[in-house]
Symmetry: C2
Subunit: 201 residues, 2 copies
């Protein structure tokens, strides 16, 4: 499994020896905001949704972590010895390799690991900038469409089982606003609505 991500046999052995695999169900919380980081999650299969959550519980959707990717926030927390600044939810049933936080730095002796971490930071940095673009430059309708598309992509399905309230929470707005916009989108035939379901067209 890890040998599809890494190739150095020593690194692979170290990872396999020191980490354990865990399966998360759909919608299960992988990391909750504010919790202490004791492991860094490496996604083997499935998809993890990453959401910023502040101390008051206000949320903003950030991005998804897919197979072969790891969480830059967790790495971040490891070096600052801090707590998680984000919430991670299993979007689909997912297999995750839990890497012990204290070994992350040690493994820097492997060039492949360094490159991987570096690449993780670079990718997520770009994603965060795109989030900033999205919320700074676009109205809620575009943000909503982006959110639905990203989640549909992660699920690999155009049908989202979700309530308007859940969307409103993760986009940090009101349920009525989401309902209004979805109605308009339905009139434009961008989506088909049902109770607990939104189908992208």
């Amino acid at each position: 499994m890890t040998n599809s991500i890494f190739h150095d046999p020593k690194l692979i052995e170290e990872i396999n020896k020191n980490s354990r695999k865990k399966t998360f169900l759909k919608d299960e919380i992988v990391v909750s905001s504010g919790s202490e980081i004791i492991f860094v999650p490496l996604v083997i299969s499935g998809s993890i949704r990453i959401v910023r959550q502040d101390l008051d519980g206000r949320e903003v959707f950030l991005y998804h972590l897919n197979s072969g990717q790891t969480c830059a926030m967790s790495l971040n927390c490891c070096s600052v010895k801090g707590n998680s600044m984000i919430k991670a939810i299993s979007e689909t049933e997912s297999e995750i390799l839990q890497l012990p936080a204290n070994l992350i730095e040690e493994w820097f002796k492997y060039p492949e690991w360094r490159a991987f971490i570096n690449n993780t930071y670079a990718t997520r940095f770009t994603e965060l900038l795109q989030v900033i673009d999205m919320i700074a430059f676009n109205n809620m309708d575009k943000q909503l469409l982006n959110y639905l598309s990203k989640r549909a992509e992660a699920l690999n399905s155009k049908a989202l089982l979700i309530t308007h309230q859940q969307i409103a929470d993760e986009l940090h707005t009101q349920r009525e606003v989401i309902s209004r916009l979805l109605r308009t989108m339905e009139q434009k035939e961008l989506v088909k609505l049902g109770r607990n379901i939104i189908e992208l067209i």
Copy 2:
């Protein structure tokens, strides 16, 4: 100069040998958005303002780079071999060490350099999250106050020589909005206004 940031004599020597120091005047552009990254800036003295700028020229203020710090975006661009996604402006007169982009990876053999880069990513990641919090959770009045405070801090002066239009650009809003909010802030005795000047109280 670099030996206040780094301690490994070999690393210091390599940096000094391969980089060159350049002085930027106040308000001079250090890196313009979209330009090819050929060096990574390391701030020796002064302060650099980092602003996101998209293809349409729309801007969002991100944060400042102070003495001893480097630009995570540039590092990012080096590994992705891409162009700059941000604009960097000298907030005060600043001395900058220009590190050749191609050596960044090579220097990873020095643990101190790895730690520095890692720490850079961690710090900027946190800053970007704070930017997201700021624009997602706060109205323009709080954003404006935050912007003025940050710039005053970087300048080490409570008097900002700046027009309403410039603020509006970097906060991605309209001049009239900034004028309105500043007037209200003046009534609340948070600022004192003049032509081309805003004094924080």
